[in-house]
Symmetry: C2
Subunit: 288 residues, 2 copies
């Protein structure tokens, strides 16, 4: 195989990767080569533009460390993460819709009891979150929750000797599937935009904001794990989420409440907000 031109090279590379022993690796490689070559043929990059693309990918890799995942941001900002989410969650009717995990999830967050304040000591409007993991009531489901502070930062963006994990917890649902906890109101925020993805967004004339939301990951035996957010009704960025993650079914009022006895029985001496959401997990799929 020699003497490839701008057309014949694609078949040549596909013929080469057809030697993969694993059929799935072969299928992925073949599709990657065809679509990547089609893209390159469509835009006909100059050698200089090709060099810029190599440099962009390299800088994106160099931005990645334990607390920053620039390739996930890139996937998010190009709608790939939500596309992969959609392909993997053709759910039965009635199940809560899914959205992106995002780059700020932490495995095995601190376990807290029901009713805990997961963001103690932080400035902001208190928020009571109540809900249930349902279908059939799911007792003992794990409910991982995480959120940004009033400035839009997650704990893992600011970890240092004085700042540990915060604004995140794992709760377990009660016998009736219910859970509740306190936090502070989340804010709309820009995804980290001081790197290559920020440059790309600027070049595309796009703002980097996500509407305010609370993250949930809910898991229970015999059910599909649910990864989703609940968005704050009325947020200015609901129609232009930089990662394309908003679905109407995931928007809720975060109701304004007066000081007094809260729905969970707590005595609150200032105005607060209240979100209620009942999550419905889909039954586990059988794998072939």
């Amino acid at each position: 195989m020699r003497n490839f031109d701008e057309r014949s090279i694609t078949a040549a590379v596909c013929e080469r990767v057809a030697q993969a022993s694993d059929p799935h690796a072969r299928q992925i490689s073949d599709a990657l080569v065809r679509h990547l070559h089609d893209f390159v043929r469509e835009i006909e990059p100059t050698q200089e533009e090709w060099s810029q693309a190599i440099a962009f990918l390299t800088r994106t890799g160099h931005m990645c460390d334990a607390n920053r995942q620039e390739f996930i941001l890139l996937s998010d900002a190009l709608g790939v993460s939500m596309l992969v989410d959609a392909l993997n969650h053709r759910l039965p009717g009635g199940a809560t819709e899914t959205t992106v995990l995002g780059p700020f999830y932490v495995q095995d967050p601190p376990e807290l009891p029901l009713g805990a304040n997961i963001s103690p000591g932080l400035e902001g409007v208190p928020l009571l979150v109540t809900g249930a993991a349902a279908g059939s009531p799911l007792a003992g489901a794990t409910v991982d929750v995480w959120h940004s502070d009033g400035d839009g930062y997650y704990d893992v963006q600011q970890l240092d000797d004085d700042h540990g994990l915060a604004m995140r917890a794992r709760l377990r649902t009660a016998q009736n599937g219910a859970f509740h906890f306190w936090m502070i109101m989340p804010a709309a925020y820009p995804i980290p935009n001081d790197g290559p993805v920020g440059e790309m967004l600027a070049a595309q004339g796009r703002h980097p904001y996500r509407p305010a939301h609370v993250h949930f990951m809910i898991a229970a035996p015999a059910h599909e794990q649910l990864v989703t957010h609940v968005f704050v009704e009325g947020d200015a960025y609901l129609d232009s989420d930089v990662v394309f993650g908003v679905k109407d079914s995931l928007i809720r009022p975060f109701a304004e409440m007066s000081a007094g006895i809260a729905p969970d029985g707590a005595q609150i001496d200032q105005p607060y907000r209240h979100l209620h959401y009942d999550f419905v997990l889909a039954p586990q799929r059988h794998t072939a």
Copy 2:
């Protein structure tokens, strides 16, 4: 824009990137989104496979430093570099064909006089290279040459306190366009395969070898810069170059010669090889 499914998300992202003020950035972004989404829809990756792809790109970025460019290797191994080369070199008949630059070029290599040995002190079979930069004879053209050692390594792969630049030089053609220099015979070699690209090649059932070759970059006023190799006739990897760079017109005999007076007048007391190649540079394109 909300509630995207696995089909509608592509138009949604394209609509968003259409805000780019630069039409070319808009065109590239639009094409990237469409082809990338088509690829993802075709292979329907699981969330775990998506995570593996993120990790692959991250490790590829982390392999890149001043002496290693893993994203160029990835582009080379997927045939993208040769495709970009083909799109940028629809040359007039008669001009020398092009091939990939590769990751081992160094800007402004050491200038040496015609006839110099560019790989002094290295073990290997001496090789005399003669040729000309022609069309009309190109006096004073710069001829950058570089090659691997007998084990297939370039200098920049082994830079340290004891090892500087070697096996590379910039020459200038004489009045008649001719040049000549001495080196040692290059060897076939594997591209660096201890990183993500090596993993990919293994998964695709591919060897990592390039056939033996000498790199040339030739530049002269009013002509297109020529980036190419000359390959050693008879090499075992000519039909399976891992980067798809071989063209018949770039293969030459590296003739076996007996000790004696070489074509450049040098007295050689051992058998050596001789390569002759006349390069024809295309006239510079007028840009619109």
